[in-house]
């Protein structure tokens, strides 16, 4: 697979010797551009570790990861392909968290525009990009509001806009619907599907949320550090 997410034999071991814990064991995963895939598993199964490896915040022990058609990690070839993981995260990965974690002292536009600005784009260009995304996510009318003035659903939509700001090939969503009620959770999933399709972004959604699991066409179950792929219901969101 050229674009999207492609993981081969990814392992992560914490500690060493008798106290070593294998959090991920030979994980394989492929997600096409424009596809939204669920990652489901009980607590301690390795979901967060997988997300952290994909997010380039912890280094895997072994394996190979390709994001957007570019190998970012290969244990056979010395590990990370770039020393600047900060730039890798900024330019190639979008993050959506369980809580929106918007920067409380920036207004909605600047929360979104910050990423392009960090990537070196001009303020005007960055704000125009933010406006475009806020428009697409139907929160443009709150562009000048502070995060504390937004509802939970609005905050999550702004955090989705932020994740898309640098047009990353990959978005990692860590339980993005957890704090939301059914209606808002489904709305968020509709948006993620729409954005994935519109921007050809591969999205992994880590979730426990029973309400949204039937929506995924493909689901990866993770248990004791191993993944099992399963076809989802792919139910349409009404």
């Amino acid at each position: 697979m050229d674009a999207g997410i492609h993981i081969e034999g990814l392992s992560k071991r914490y500690g060493a010797g008798d106290t070593a814990v294998d959090a991920l064991k030979e994980v394989n995963m492929s997600i096409a551009p424009g596809e939204v895939v669920g990652l489901v598993g009980p607590s301690g199964s390795g979901k967060t570790t997988l997300l952290k490896c994909l997010g380039a915040v912890i280094e895997p022990t072994r394996g190979r990861m390709t994001l957007g058609g570019e190998v970012i990690y290969d244990s056979e070839q010395g590990g990370w392909k770039t020393k600047d993981l900060r730039a890798l995260r900024r330019d190639r990965i979008g993050f959506i968290f369980q809580a929106p974690y918007l920067i409380p002292f920036l207004d909605v536009t600047d929360n979104v525009a910050l990423l392009p600005m960090l990537a070196g784009r001009a303020n005007g260009v960055s704000r125009a990009r933010a406006q475009e995304l806020l428009q697409a996510l139907d929160v443009a009318h709150r562009a000048k509001a502070q995060p504390s003035e937004l509802s939970g659903g609005e905050q999550q939509r702004v955090s989705i806009a932020r994740a898309l700001a640098n047009q990353p090939p990959v978005i990692l969503a860590d339980e993005p619907t957890a704090p939301l009620d059914s209606q808002r959770a489904l709305a968020v999933m509709r948006i993620l599907n729409q954005m994935a399709s519109q921007y050809q972004t591969a999205i992994i959604v880590v979730t426990h949320d029973e309400k949204i699991i039937p929506i995924f066409k493909r689901i990866y179950h993770i248990r004791d550090g191993r993944t099992v792929e399963e076809a989802g219901e792919g139910r349409q969101i009404s």
């Binding site: 952290k52 730039a87 995260r89 920067i103 002292f105 960090l118 303020n123 502070q146």
Partner: protein, 397 residues
């Protein structure tokens, strides 16, 4: 690029400004302490300038008249006047005492001087100079006397006929100028009971009260009730002579101590107020450390309150130096607000202090630099904490 520090300050400006005001009051206290020291030095210099003298002639082996007691005969000035290079020489007395006015008391330095001679107040802000030989006074406005008011010095009442300004002792007490003869009496004469007791002792002494020697006892009594002491002779040097050369002549030939202006400044600043200066320096050091601790604590707690946001910022690609810059700018912003508030506070409350507080621009500039340095140092703890934040903390689990 967005100024993260500026936005954060604007977002929580109320908390930030209140903290800055708190810090500012501390900085204001620090500036005031420096001002108190400057005021003491200035008071000492003004004291010397107001005396109008080039040389202070005092009792041998003393550092009088301001730092130590000095007692010399009041005819010494005549022999000093005879020395080459001396233009003017005049007796003066200084006595710090409680001056009564009405039911109130004012601690003042009573100065005895001869009109038209060194030691006379150089300018008046109200009223007139002394015209009568006795019982008139000129007072510094800080003493709180009004023109025409009667004040009591020892056993006599004086009318305040003139007011002057910035004439204070090295201890900050306002000066009250009275005629030299009155001042000598106030300083050196005994009270009535002591005089009566002395006369009785003299009359009982057969060698001083000899039968057949009329007038001896009266002469002895008269000698005991008249005093011919003063504290110092103030000398003005004539054109063509230097104060040091004239002072050397006085030391060599008159067996007296003579100090030039430079030497007198040394005595007042380096010796008389040295302990106070050390005391103030200790306060300044403590206040600086306390200010640094407060800034460090505030910035550190403000940073700890933003750990999650800092983790998110790091995760989405913000450089460490941008985060460190944000914290540093906030610390400097806090210092700037604190300095402005401190400077305004010190300027407003300085006139209310009983002693002169001199706030110099140089001190303010130095304080500004120190505040900025202290804030920079204080922010390092918070920067260290922020740089240690793992971006992985933004991801749950």
């Amino acid at each position: 690029m967005i100024s993260l520090a500026g936005r954060d300050i604007l977002h929580s400006w109320g908390k930030f400004v209140l903290t800055g005001i708190g810090l500012g009051l501390l900085i204001g206290a620090t500036l005031t302490m420096a001002g108190v020291y400057r005021g003491m030095v200035d008071d000492a210099q003004v004291l010397l300038t107001n005396s109008g003298a080039d040389i202070w002639v005092v009792q041998k082996d003393t550092q009088g008249p301001y730092a130590e007691a000095s007692n010399i005969r009041d005819d010494v000035y005549r022999s000093v006047l005879g020395l080459p290079g001396v233009a003017q020489a005049a007796n003066v007395t200084y006595l710090t005492m409680q001056v009564l006015h009405g039911a109130r008391e004012s601690r003042s330095m009573v100065v005895g001087f001869e009109p038209g001679q060194p030691g006379e107040p150089t300018y008046l802000v109200a009223g007139r100079r002394l015209l009568r030989g006795h019982y008139e006074a000129i007072a510094d406005v800080k003493a709180g006397f009004r023109l025409g008011e009667r004040i009591r010095i020892r056993r006599h009442d004086y009318e305040v006929v003139g007011l002057t300004q910035r004439t204070v002792s090295s201890g900050g007490d306002p000066m009250v100028f009275i005629p030299l003869k009155d001042a000598q009496e106030a300083q050196f004469l005994k009270d009535n009971d002591a005089i009566i007791a002395d006369r009785a002792r003299t009359a009982a002494n057969p060698s001083l009260n000899r039968p057949g020697v009329p007038g001896l006892l009266d002469a002895v009594n008269a000698a005991q009730t008249v005093n011919h002491s003063v504290n110092a002779v103030l000398v003005k040097v004539g054109a063509g002579s230097t104060a040091e050369s004239v002072a050397q002549e006085i030391r060599r030939w008159k067996h007296l101590q003579a100090y030039t202006r430079v030497q007198m400044e040394e005595i007042l600043v380096a010796k008389l107020i040295a302990t106070s200066a050390k005391q103030i320096a200790m306060f300044l050091a403590i206040l600086t450390v306390v200010s640094a601790a407060i800034v460090a604590f505030i910035i550190y707690t403000m940073t700890l309150g933003k750990i999650r946001e800092i983790a998110v910022l790091k995760l989405i690609g913000t450089r460490n130096r941008s985060i460190a810059g944000m914290i540093l700018q906030q610390a400097l912003g806090l210092g700037l607000i604190g300095f402005i508030v401190g400077k305004i506070a010190a300027t407003l409350w300085a006139p209310a202090f009983p002693k002169y507080v001199l706030l110099e621009s140089g001190d303010a500039l130095r304080a500004f630099v120190v505040v900025m340095l202290v804030c920079t140092l204080a922010s390092t703890l918070a920067i260290r904490a922020a740089l240690k934040v793992d971006p992985a903390e933004a991801i749950g689990g």
